[in-house]
């Protein structure tokens, strides 16, 4: 079977810094793929390319086997790829419902929507509430709270919920549990499981090895801007992974 999302020979330079140095990437259907690596290894840069937030200098991205050229996150979103960015990408002064529907607002039916282009704020709130309920997210009390009034963990839940609710092909999460407590982390991990059970593959970037080993089907190890190896959590230990990450052991990719 062809992988859902692939990347070949991706290169991205920022001035003298080579953030991605000819990296490959494969995401299989229905799996949770963890991406691990040291700080600055180029994980975020790689997923920024996959989600259209950054244009690569070289290399190609394939969705279900055919090449795609995302010029903006909008393109990737339209293709069904949703991303939780490391810095969350939320609008602080807007409420939870507005953030979920930011960039894909619902208009009122009839002439008010067509002629006045008026938003259907009530519909967005109702649907947002329903989506949160379906995903089992209980940390957010009111859909009409401003995101800036939420705790760091709650904000992360908003970003995760948004990706989970709208990702139809692929969901990418860049350190979604970084700011979360034990309970909230468990919820996010559970959520990742829910998404996978719906048949949507998830890319999970994390520094938390127990989390990775708990949820991932395969582990993509990133080192110095490249994919160093892909291993299975059932065949390798955390120590093996750390050793590859730091360059202590080498393994054919």
């Amino acid at each position: 079977m062809t992988p859902i999302l692939q990347a070949r020979g991706i290169v991205k330079r920022y001035g003298h810094v080579t953030a991605i140095d000819g990296a490959d990437f494969d995401l299989e259907a229905g799996e949770v793929l963890a991406v691990v690596g040291d700080n600055g290894a180029g994980k975020s840069s790689l997923i920024n390319v996959l989600s259209g937030a950054v244009l690569p200098d070289a290399g190609e991205v394939l969705l279900a086997g055919s090449p795609v050229h995302f010029k903006s996150p909008h393109d990737a979103r339209l293709a069904g790829i949703e991303t939780v960015y490391q810095d969350l990408a939320v609008a602080p002064a807007m409420d939870i419902a507005s953030n979920l529907y930011l960039g894909r607002e619902i208009r009122r039916p009839g002439w008010r929507g067509k002629v006045l282009r008026q938003l259907d704020i009530r519909a967005m709130r109702q649907r947002a509430q329903k989506q949160l309920d379906e995903l089992g997210i209980t940390t957010l009390q009111s859909i009409t709270q401003s995101v800036e009034n939420l705790s760091g963990g709650q904000r992360q839940s908003v970003a995760v919920a948004r990706a989970a609710a709208f990702g139809s092909k692929v969901v990418i999460m860049d350190e979604p549990t970084a700011a979360l407590g034990v309970r909230e982390s468990a919820q996010v991990l559970e959520l990742i499981g829910t998404i996978r059970d719906r048949g949507i593959p998830v890319v999970l970037i994390s520094h938390n090895m127990p989390h990775v080993f708990q949820i991932a089907d395969r582990i993509h190890i990133h080192r110095l801007g490249k994919r160093a190896a892909v291993v299975s959590p059932r065949e390798h230990t955390m120590n093996d992974v750390v050793a590859i990450m730091t360059g202590a052991t080498e393994l054919a990719a």
């Binding site: 937030a53 990408a89 602080p92 930011l102 960039g103 607002e105 282009r117 009409t144 401003s146 800036e148």
Partner: protein
């Protein structure tokens, strides 16, 4: 509710009512039908300019060139209509084209070239002031006609005089308020001001939003030029020398954050009214106009302090 545009006009409204109450009590002449009507008429130009300024500030920008754009537009209109004998209506359209084009140009520099709005509009200010003076050094008078149409008016309730210009500025405020709070475009404007990178990652075409905001601001400046002809059928390169700061004052008093992403047009218009009420009231009371400046300055600082305070308390 979104804190971005949650009742942002309540504070300035309270300040306005308080000022009106104080002057009503302390002077015999302030609270009269004629004077209230007059203050509304005085608000049309800076009020309209402040709407464009609000849009730009909401995207985390600032416009130092709004007065200069309006004045150049007005000069082009006046010269076409009087010097070149172009029909006034067509001259007016040309003014909209000039101001809209300049807005688009500024928006292009801010979005496509990622230049800071402060610098872009400072450059525009300098260039346009010179361009206006190259265009003409003199005051140009316009004849009565479509250009002065906004001065026309009628009476409400028998004696309250309302000009077309006053009605138009109120309609403009209402339309923009609707667009900002009830359409996708409006939400995208706030989102860009909140965090442009986040907005981009939410699939918003940030450059296009910025471009649309600067274009719309330019068109509003042309509208302000038309309003100015309704107030006084003449224009000169020296007109409205402090429009940029006056509009920033109105916007800030109106509760819009200079850091972008929160506020609204109703507050800005009320901010413009507050300044005029202070001006008028202190004149009626026979007090040195410098106190009006002091009062305005204090209001600006308090409004910004309040904004900082709310932003900090919600972090």
């Amino acid at each position: 509710m979104d804190t971005a545009f949650r009742n942002p006009a309540i504070g300035p409204l309270a300040a306005l009512l308080l000022a009106v109450a104080v002057f009503t009590v302390t002077t015999d002449t302030f609270m009269s039908v004629d004077n209230v009507s007059l203050i509304l008429q005085q608000s049309v130009v800076i009020g309209t300019l402040a709407l464009g300024q609000t849009l730009i500030i909401l995207t985390r920008g600032i416009d130092l060139a709004n007065g200069a754009i309006m004045v150049l537009g007005a000069l082009v209109v006046a010269q076409l209509a009087t010097g070149a004998g172009v029909p006034q209506g067509i001259a007016l359209l040309a003014g909209f084209a000039v101001c809209g084009g300049l807005g688009l140009l500024a928006g292009g520099a801010v979005s496509r070239l990622s230049l800071p709005p402060f610098i872009v509009t400072l450059g525009f200010l300098t260039v346009l002031q010179a361009a206006s003076r190259l265009h003409t050094r003199e005051t140009v008078l316009v004849e009565e006609g479509p250009l002065t149409f906004l001065a026309q008016g009628g009476y409400l309730f028998g004696q309250f005089q309302v000009t077309v210009g006053v009605a138009l500025v109120l309609i403009t405020v209402a339309v923009l308020h609707f667009a900002l709070t009830r359409t996708s475009w409006g939400r995208h404007v706030y989102a860009v001001g909140n965090d442009a990178k986040a907005a981009m990652r939410c699939g918003i075409n940030v450059n296009r939003v910025l471009l649309s905001v600067y274009l719309l601001a330019g068109l509003l400046y042309a509208l302000a030029a038309w309003q100015a002809f309704g107030r006084s059928p003449a224009t000169s390169p020296n007109a409205f020398p402090t429009a940029n700061l006056d509009t920033i004052t109105a916007v800030v008093i109106g509760g819009t954050s200079l850091f972008g992403g929160r506020g609204g047009v109703i507050g800005s218009y009320l901010g413009a009214l507050i300044v005029l009420v202070l001006q008028s009231g202190l004149t009626q009371a026979g007090i040195d106009p410098l106190y009006q400046q002091i009062a305005t300055g204090i209001l600006v600082i308090l409004a910004v302090a309040l904004d900082q305070f709310t932003r900090r308390s919600t972090r």
